[in-house]
Structure formats: C-alpha cells, structure tokens
C-alpha cells in the first residue's frame, strides 16, 4: 500500500495545510518545476479563485501562466485542449463541477479521444480541477457529484482526494500524467474533515494526520488506493468526503472494517479492492452522488464479478438519493451516519 510514503513523508519536512493550501502548493510546485504548466479559469488570476485555490500564483508566475478566462467552460476546456496540443500542460479550473456541462463536448469528444484518434500524434495532458459535492447549502447547482459521467468516458482519468496530503500528491501526479484527468475536489472538506454530523462543530485539518503535507515535490501514483484502516469485518469502498463519514460511523459502531479510499476511480486499484474483499468477505460501497448508474454500480459489479466466491453477504451500496440536490433538505439527501449505519448493521447481521 502506502508506497509513496517511503519517498515523501519520511524525508521531506511536513507543514500543516488545509486542502485548499495543499492544492495551491501542488500548483505552485508544478509551476516552478515545469514551465509548461499553465492555469486558467474564471476568477483564478488576480482574485485567486472563488475558493482561493490559485491565490498568489498569478503574482508569482505572471499573467502568461495564470490567467482569468471568459465565463465559457466550452472555451476554457477547448482552449486547454489546444494549448495541450501545442505542448503545454494546462490546469484549467471549472469554478464548480456543476458548471462543467457546457465543456463536455470538448472533454468527451475531444480531450478524451485525442490520443486515440490521432494514433498518438496529439495528446491532451490537461488536468481539469473542479470543486464538487454538497454539504455547503449550495443547492442543486453548486452541490453535484457528477464523477460517474466522466468515469463512463473512455480516455478520461478521474481523481478524487480525501485529505490535503493526498490532494497535493495526486494533483502533482495528475498534472504530470500524459492523459486528461478530471480532478474533483470535495469542497465540504476543504477546511477540515467531516464526520457527517452536520449539527456538531466543524473540525479543521490541524488534528488530522492527512493535514500534514510534505513540502516540495512528491507525487502519489494515480490508480493506487489508500487503506485508511485495516480490518477484517468488512471492506468499505469509498472516496472523497465520504471517507471521513464512513470512518466515523464504523469507529462509532466499533466495527473492525477495512476502509479503502479509492483516490482514483479511473484507473481503479482493482488489486486493492480484490485483496480486501477476499479477506473480509463483505463489501460496502459508499458515495454521495445519486444512486442510479453511479460509480457504486460499477464497484458492486466488479466485486461481484471478481470476488463472488468470497462473499458472505450481499454487497451493500449507500448513496445520495436519485433527486437533484435539494437546498433546505440538504442533510436529508446527504448519505449520512444513519444511512451508512443501517447498511453496516445489515452487513454485520449476515
């Protein structure tokens, strides 16, 4: 598992960071490291982004490398595809994942297929960063989790970190990757981990091991899951904000679960999934996105195909409901501790 630790955590001094600072640091490191890395998007320049992820970068690297864009996601991604064709490594920001849809043609029909259709003459090494997910009273246009739209596209990689440490290492790997990467940032945990109890005070990253971020360059390979916690009672497959919610629920229930933070959905660390399910014999899949045709369906199917004879109980799937993300009933929508707890109980009964 934790191979990257060998080259990073033990050598480099670490600094306490929240996820925004870690992302900012990753961009800073990569811009310093590679003059071809450029950042563009709405409000990313002087202002530093509505979530401050690009703060200070324009000042440091100049307007040729960090610049505001028109409000046109098709243009942002289309221009990034063109810059990438030239040989740059663009890191476009889409202000909210909910705004990405006007850019889908450029992502799905163009970036994802560039290498294939030109037989490798042209590639699209771009990393599209975008905050996603709910829990901030953003209503239906600032809360969605559209990852399954992208995992369904051949040629796109989809990455979702759950800690500042991983966000930095994965973003660096994504930028270095020669294929297009969708990098979804769970905005609910930008400032601290979230255990799903919306009515308790929010936490910061200060007391969380994932908030210790190595200084300088390090990367976490795409396609490698992280074992959050080893255990034998069940395997929990989870990513993003829900990693922390799952961890809290299982700890509170005293279940010896093995929690696997997938970190990248495509490419998926299938070995980690198989090894764990074969060991525990039970599997719980959790995501915040709507249920029908969600990434959970893919996970359940893979586990069924590859681990069927090791399973001791039906696979459980906990997700958001199949509705748009409501504003006032946000917490009734969110797959919180009660919904997860019930699934855990069902699995433990078998």
């Amino acid at each position: 598992m934790l191979e990257e630790d060998a080259v990073s955590l033990h050598e480099a001094p670490t600094r306490q960071m929240n996820m925004i600072e870690a992302i900012n640091d990753a961009l800073d490191v990569m811009m310093g490291h590679d003059p071809d890395v450029v950042v563009l998007g709405e409000d990313v320049g002087y202002f530093g982004g509505v979530f401050r992820a690009t703060a200070g970068l324009q000042k440091k690297y100049g307007k040729n490398r960090v610049f505001d864009s028109p409000i046109n996601e098709c243009g942002i991604i289309g221009a990034a595809v063109g810059m990438a064709a030239y040989g740059l490594r663009p890191v476009p920001e889409i202000q909210f994942a909910d705004y990405i849809y006007p850019g889908l043609d450029q992502l799905i029909s163009e970036a994802a297929r560039m290498r294939y259709r030109s037989a490798g003459q042209f590639t699209s090494p771009l990393t599209v960063r975008s905050p996603f997910g709910g829990g901030i009273f953003g209503g239906q246009t600032h809360s969605q989790s559209p990852e399954a739209l992208f995992t369904h596209v051949a040629g796109l990689k989809t990455v979702i970190p759950s800690t500042p440490h991983d966000a930095k290492g994965l973003l660096i790997a994504a930028i270095e990757d020669n294929d297009p990467v969708i990098f979804f940032e769970p905005k609910r945990i930008y400032n601290g981990p979230f255990d799903g109890n919306y009515d308790s005070p929010s936490k910061t990253w200060k007391s969380h091991s994932g908030g210790k971020v190595p200084e300088g360059y390090y990367s976490i390979p795409l396609g490698k899951a992280r074992t959050v916690r080893e255990g034998s009672a069940m395997t929990v497959l989870v990513y993003g904000t829900m990693v922390h919610v799952a961890e809290a629920v299982l700890a509170q229930k005293g279940v010896d679960a093995e929690i696997i933070d997938l970190r990248t959905l495509v490419p998926l660390d299938i070995d980690a999934v198989e090894k764990s399910v074969e060991k525990t014999g039970k599997c719980l899949v959790i995501h915040e996105a709507t249920k029908t045709s969600g990434f959970g369906a893919e996970l359940v199917s893979l586990v069924q195909e590859r681990c069927f004879y090791h399973l001791e109980a039906p696979i459980e799937r906990v997700t958001g409901f199949d509705t748009p993300y409501p504003h006032s009933l946000e917490w009734a929508y969110f797959p919180g501790p009660v919904r997860i707890g019930e699934a855990v109980d069902r699995l433990m009964k078998d």
Binding site: G139, T141, T323, P326, S328
Partner: protein
Amino acid sequence: MAEGPVRSGKPRGNLPPLEFYVPEPRYRPGDVVDYSHLEIPEAGTARRPDEACEANETWPLTTDLIRVLDENDQAVGPWDPKLDPETLRGMLRTMALTRAFDDRMYRGQRQGKTSFYMKSTGEEAISVACAFALADDDMVFPSYRQQGILISRGYPLVEMINQIYSNRADRLKGRQLPIMYSAKDYGFFTISGNLATQFPQAVGWSMASAIKGDTRIATSFIGEGSSAEGDFHAAMTFAAVYNAPVVLNVVNNQWAISSFSGFAGSERTTFAARANGYGIAGLRVDGNDALAVYAAMDWAANRARANKGPTLIEHFTYRAEGHSTSDDPSAYRSAREAEEWPLGDPVMRLKNHLIGLGEWSDEQHAEMDKALAEEVRTATKEAEKNGILGHGLHHPFHTMFEDVFEDLPWNLREQADQAISERRTKFPEWKE
C-alpha cells in the same frame, strides 16, 4: 512540444516573438479611479430610428449611449418616453422598494437566516423600467439579478422571502438556492444557477409564441460576463434566423465576480455592437437612467410585436456591491469605482427628475423610504413565521422526491421511505 511540423524550409521572416495578451482592469484595490476615458455622450443626442427600421440602421446606437436624463435630471431628446407623473412615481417607488428589499435580505443572510443572497444595488432601473415598459404577460427569462421585475409585477414580497428562507411556505419547496425564484403566474421563468442558459430559451419561447400566432413576446437578461457563454451565440443565431419576437438584454455592470468586462470582450467593442453582426437591431443605453431604459425596452418590444424582429439591448451600469454574499469586492477592485461611477445612482436621478417636474419632494421621498422599509419589515416578519433556513420548518421530507418525474418511480418511493425512517432514527420524537 517535442516534435513540431516538418519544416519545408520556407522562412517565416525575421519577426519578433509573439506576445500573449491578458486583459487587466484599470483599477485594483486602493487605486485612484479616473473615469475620464469613458465616453458619456450628452443626454438627448442619440437619434431614435423608426421601430421598424432595418437592423443595421441601429449601428450608430450600438456604440453610442442612449440617455434621456441630463445632468440636471431633466428629460430631453427623442428617446424621452414622456411618461405621466403617476407612472414615474410608480417606477421610483418600485426601484426604492427593490433597494429596501435587498438591504433587508442581505442583513438577513448575515444574521444566518439563509445561506445566500444577491443584491441589485445600482441596477434597479434596468429591471424596473423594463418591467414597466413590457406588458404584464410578456414572458421574462431572467438572470439572478432581476428581482426588480418580480417586484414591479406585484409578486408578493412574502413569497420572495419564503423562497429566500427555503421555509415551509416556499412555493419552490426549499429546493432552490435563495433568489432563484420561479413565478409562472407572473411571467417569470425559473432562474437557473447555470449561466446564460435562459437566453436561447427566451428565443425558443418567443418562437413558440409566433408559431401559435400569440401576441406575447419574450425577453431575457444576462450579465456581460455570461455573454461569453456559447448560449449567447446560440440565442443570437436563432433569434436572427427565425426573426424571433424577443428582446435580449445584456446587463453590463462591469464585473462578473472578480472578472471585469474585458474578459467578455469589452476592450474591443461594446456588447450592443455584437447585434448587427447577427443582423439584429442593437441599442446601448444608460442603465442608470430609468427613462432611457424604459424607452429602449419600449422601442424593442414594439418592434418585436410588429414582427420586425429581435433586439439586443446593452444596459451600461455598475454593480455597486459584491457579486453575492459569498465574495468581498474590496479584494479585487477599487472601492472608489462605485463612488465615482459617472452615471450616478438610478434612484436619485429619477427622484430628482420628479422633483424638477414639481411632482415630488425630498420630504415625500423620505416618507416613502420609511414606509417601504416598514413594508419589507412586515413581510419579513410574516415570512419568518414559516421558518428560516435550517430551523426545522422546512417542507415535508416527501417533497424532496416529488417532481423529479411526473410520477414517482419505485426507486424514489423506496428512497422517500428511507429518508423518513432515517429522520426517525436520528430524532425519535420527530413528527412531520
């Protein structure tokens, strides 16, 4: 790039390297603001062509600025809509009410009564005067800063506040972000949180109205920033192709969150100037001059009603406050900009105009402001009886699952039961 094109040996010449250009606003925080570069033509000088004119006859008006109120706030020139004092007072009152409403709702958000708010300070003339110039059943496809239209059409403030609080009485069932109103019975289309999508929709609505031989027209509003979206181009193309009875408005308030209008192309030409390229009539109007806004919308609406085609109107104004409650404008622009905006305050200009006519006074104005503040306060109290965001009095849980489809499918029925059972687990005493 490692490998470039194969070189044929044909020389490019001894040219200097290319330069990358990124627009930069004139003023940043702390800067002294000087608006002397802005060309502000004198009021009354713009020609008023016939409403049925060829689209390209409007070309001079797309770079000019239609202004009716002069520096003494007197109405001059061919665009003076010559409104009666009663109508003028009605517009003034509605603009002031919109401002009073914004102030109260902004404070409510700061007090934690809701998650989000967006003011329209400085832009009240655009919504209100357009609404006054339109028929009440003309269809409006608004962006998020046209609350003045709803208020002009007499939509109850209490209903607006219920929506802002996402409370039990919210007609939109607490589903939408605050201020994303929808009021079909007031000809006000459901506001989207995604930008510019309403522009082609307004064109489509007006095409349908023409298909059916209706007499109603459609109008839509977007900010200059979102005119960069592809939807703008789609709307203009369809409007031109089908000679659609639609009035398309670009509210150029200079700022899209932290991005100044240059990121939508304002350094090269005006937004109104785009119209003629599509074969559409274009007008550029002083957005802080209620009479000019009224006159422009009236001209365009008459043109559309007479089957003479669509118009693009640029309303030149200034966003006097932040984009929303989520940003701090002092982090990206000079605070002096709002103070020194050369086109003044739309409420004050109309007020002074009425005073000049002998139809209004400072005393009456002060009294009106007091009464409006009280009206908003009363509506707020009334709405608060239905709850504020996050304090229990939201819609029944089942409503979350309704309207996804016309009929509730099996999976949503199961999930609705699940949501209610989860609630009972968390709060055993809970009753819907």
